[in-house]
């Protein structure tokens, strides 16, 4: 029987991170040949591969919308993605719910009215999971959409935030799997950086209003800037950063 892991050791997070510190993030876009846009995102031990097809003809035809593109988001976890036993292949209730809320994030920013009667699909495959997978997956989806050249009014991003101490008071950013499973609360949060609007918000836990606002401020001031930097770097990378003087690698 595994012993219960401690989340706080000598006053610090057991995984060595500061309270407001995110895990290391590594992003590459354009990794798949067939998808219009794609992104491989590693966030701590999470690994997500996202791909975008579209705008293209709607399938099945009966779902077509004459006013705008329909956006289909799919979040799926590979059976070998977790440390625990063999998962089921394909979506389950949890992944269906995540697909829905992920879709709401994309629908908010994608200019779907520019492409009536078409379909845009965002497929997010979680290949390795370690807590905060839905945030990682949606971030990868946003980048895959940008890589595909699909017009968006912003690049949403965010992170999880939650309490990990027994007193349910100490708020930290970006909970990993142990902190999520053994901690007191977890609030995955995604914002539209340009407007500050909340596009994704879910919670597990029992917290006061002040705590919720504290968490939101942490995500806005600490997580969003860090994510924006990483996302910008990944998208500009293939164009050599600056476009002057033909500075291009073959």
């Amino acid at each position: 029987m595994t012993e219960k892991r401690e989340l706080i050791r000598n006053g610090k997070r057991a995984n060595g991170r500061e309270d407001d510190e995110l895990r290391p993030i590594k992003i590459t876009v354009g990794v798949l040949d067939k998808a219009q846009g794609s992104c491989l995102l590693e966030w701590g031990k999470n690994m997500v591969l996202a791909g975008v097809y579209g705008p293209r003809e709607v399938f099945p035809k009966r779902d077509v919308d004459a006013r705008k593109a329909i956006l289909v988001a799919r979040y799926v976890m590979a059976p070998f993605s977790g440390v625990e036993g063999h998962g089921r292949a394909g979506p389950n209730r949890r992944s269906r719910e995540i697909s829905k809320v992920a879709g709401h994030v994309f629908e908010n920013v994608v200019l779907t009215e520019k492409f009536p009667k078409t379909m845009i699909e965002v497929q997010m495959e979680v290949l390795q999971s370690d807590g905060g997978t839905r945030i990682a997956a949606i971030t990868a989806g946003v980048l895959a959409l940008a890589d595909a050249g699909i017009p968006m009014k912003d690049l949403p991003c965010g992170s999880g935030v939650g309490t990990i101490d027994e007193d349910n008071k100490r708020m930290v950013l970006d909970l990993d799997k142990y902190e999520d499973n053994l901690g007191k609360s977890d609030i995955p949060t995604i914002l539209s950086p340009r407007t500050g609007e909340i596009l994704l918000y879910q919670m597990d836990g029992y917290l006061t209003k002040e705590q919720l606002l504290e968490g939101l401020d942490k995500v806005q001031s600490k997580a969003v800037p860090r994510l924006r930097e990483e996302m910008a770097r990944a998208l500009k990378e293939k164009y050599g950063g600056m476009a002057e003087n033909g500075g291009v690698e073959q």
Binding site: M1, T2, L32, D33, K34, A35, S38, K45, M47, L49, A50, G51, Y53, R56, F59, R74, V76, A78, P79, F80, S81, G82, V83, E84, G85, H86, G87, A89, G90, P91, E121, Q123, E125, L127, Q128, S129, D130
Partner: protein, 256 residues
Amino acid sequence: MILDEVKEKFIKGVMREGKRTDGRAFDEYRKISVDTEAFPNAEGGAWVKIGDTQVAAGIKIDLSTPFPDQPDEGMLSVNAEFSPLAHPDFYPGPPKPESIELARVVDRGIRSAESIDLKKLFVKENKVLGVFIDLYVLNHSGNLIDAAALAAMAALNKARLPKIEDDKIVYGEYTGQLPIARSVVTTTFEKIEGQIILDANDHEEVASEARFTLGTGDGDKFASAQKSGNGGFTRGEFEYLLDTALEKGRELRKLV
């Protein structure tokens, strides 16, 4: 998006001149890379690229009850997912015949060659270890079978046995490698207007009238065979396939 008819005409035209569109020889594989460090949460894993084709394999080992007619043997299960990421024609839903065929062909190779000694997976009465191999097609640019078989075998060769305590698996702790007796790989051929090529890309597959996959293992023996598609193969062609599969199989097995 160029229509299949246009692709097919183009490929056949180039092949009639004895060439392939990417300049390869008829029996030449594209660049192959095998990464066995990609999926640390799994008991074993591999991410294989053949040209632009990308297939991942993940292995999970779980406790299972054995089949009633093989009570002292462990279990092997191979499943394939054709992710919608991989190709504009892939949609979520029940597995297509191609994905079932792929999983079963890879399974048969490993099983017939007895790569895994299933008897070594016996734990105690009514409890055995099950080896679950999940093949994930991530990008389809042709020859999914060879990429999948390579990924499965590379993952198996690096797979670790999880620790068992009090009749339960202790996830994250391991007691050594999964014992593998021999390696198996596949070599897939496509026939286009009487000419045979190896490692077809997805455009060449559109032009193909028949396919033959041969699995080969250590000791120059055949572990699996699958002919697919409506066209036929002559005996002479078949002998060429057997010889080429043995030769290429030896090279491919070095990569796992």
